[in-house]
Amino acid sequence: MTTRRTAVKFIAGAGVGALFTPAPWRLIRDTALWSENWPGIPRPKRGPISAKTTVCTLCPAGCAVRARCVGDQPVAMAGVNGGLCPLCVIGHHLPYYPKRVKQGAPEEARAAVAKADSTKRLAVLDLRPGRTASALYRKAMKEQNGLYLAPPQPGALVNLAAAKSVLSVGAPLFEGWLPPAEVFAVRDRFRLVQIEPEFSRTAAMADEWLPSGDVAALARRLEGPVLVVDRTMSSAIVALNKELGGWGKTVQAAPEFGADDLASVPDGAIGVLYIDESNPGEYIPWPEIERKLASGAVTVAFAWSPDGYARHAKFVLPTAVFPEALDDVDGRVTTPLMKAPEGVVDPVEFIAKASLADALKEIKPKEDSGWRLPYLGVFDATPSPLSTKLYQESNLLVAPRQLAVVSGAELADKVVRA
């Protein structure tokens, strides 16, 4: 007679027996493989590989990029002049960013702008000044008595390759302040002294780390040419560089972007604010912007990520993202590597009613000068599309592939030598 106890024994025996067959293990493996092919998971195409070159627009450095493409899909990024930073190495994944802004309401935004209080001023906040798009925004704002706003930029350009000694007063030199691949490419050519209370990653990689010290006295003792830097390239640091003879060699005046001073704009004066966040850069804390807005002001953010100013804007319009976007960095035109999805909005066409493509045909191509404007956007406290979190995630993703550029052995060697 079959009892419950007999049935349980039978099931237990079957369970134990099944473990000694290929069935459960094969099912586990198959399920894992099946999950790789779920719809919506981007997969590199297979086919003939071609190489395309472009310029990275993810930070103002504008590194030259060679992309391996299968058909029209980039599948890997590499630097033309040495390595790339982690963010650009995975730049071809950005179009598939899960949180990407995909839909907007451009017609409603246009209607809201048309209805906005005409006694208030029109303004555009350009997070990446110095581009051809920026010139078009400036021209459009001038014609409409509007304001062209840009975040404060570092006080000087630096040329790390020209320095024999670098005295850094808390500047995160190895952490995105300058393009990491470029810094590592010339790392052996200069001695780095880091003055910083905390033992940061840059401090760990410096030849000498000092929690505090007399900057001027220390700089005069170092072997020249000396480059003294701090996080924002403040006027005091620029003056010290001039005194040390570095002007024109290791430090140079930052370009003028012709932006209006946000602080001098009366509170509540802006009726319509466009924010071009298609290429992230430095950020202005939102409370500083918010108090300049009139009651009921229309704010339109052009963004591909919902994490930046898009959180505060009334209208968020999707834009193309690297490597889909056409743009320029310091006179070098980026070539889109892939087609932008349907529905993206061109901020230049929307704001300035002009064609960026036509304007870019007019510019004269420039060689890379080697001068770099330090980049603070990655470390800004304001959450941004290139926030520290995303940057760190990208670091983790590509860490094994970056070992050729930033090898653990190389770093350990530098620390030991310090």
């Binding site: 039978f10 099931i11 027996g17 092919n37 003939p48």
Partner: protein, 177 residues
């Protein structure tokens, strides 16, 4: 002993089902679109593997040849076989690519370079693909309905065994980049 009989019966049943029944259920035999003979092509046409399964100019492996390659010789029937006539009628004349089922396609998480194995490692095709190149009839393609890959796809164990045998690197990142 008697109290163990239900337990042993369950175990024996599961073992039988797992070893004999499960593979039959999980591996579905699917025919290839064309009744192709490697043997005929090798013996009568003198074709070598790389004549059809070639490397592209960039060094990547093209896999199964495209219809253009076949149509280069078979624009009109070269023999009298029914399978050749069917191939021309169904694929060459309407210019329709045959959907070959790959016996060796690796999952997406595997990076395998034919060029490094063949040019640097000097491996012969037969080392991994067996005697497929000399068969008169393409073997059945057993497709796993869950994963979608072929049963014949080379497993990681086989890759590692060969690399060990030849004292080569076999770290995770070599294949799972």
């Amino acid at each position: 002993m008697k109290p163990l009989i239900p337990f042993l019966a369950g175990a024996v049943l599961a073992l039988g089902a797992g070893w004999a029944g499960f593979p039959r259920v999980i591996d579905r035999a699917r025919p290839q679109p064309v009744d192709f003979s490697h043997k005929v092509h090798a013996e009568k046409a003198g074709a070598k593997c790389e004549d059809c399964h070639a490397f592209r100019d960039d060094g990547t492996f093209a896999g199964a040849p495209a219809l253009d390659k076949c149509a280069g010789c078979h624009a009109a029937p070269m023999g009298t076989t029914a399978s050749e006539k069917a191939f021309i009628d169904q694929y060459v004349t309407p210019n329709r690519e045959p959907q070959w089922r790959s016996y060796a396609r690796q999952p997406e998480n595997v990076f395998f370079s034919h060029v490094s194995h063949m040019k640097l490692g000097k491996l012969q095709c037969e080392k991994c693909h067996g005697n497929l190149g000399t068969t008169d009839k393409l073997p059945a393609h057993y497709e796993d309905p869950i994963s979608g890959y072929s049963r014949q796809t080379m497993s990681m164990d086989a890759c590692i065994a060969c690399h060990r045998e030849n004292k080569l690197e076999h770290s995770c990142m070599d294949c799972h980049k």
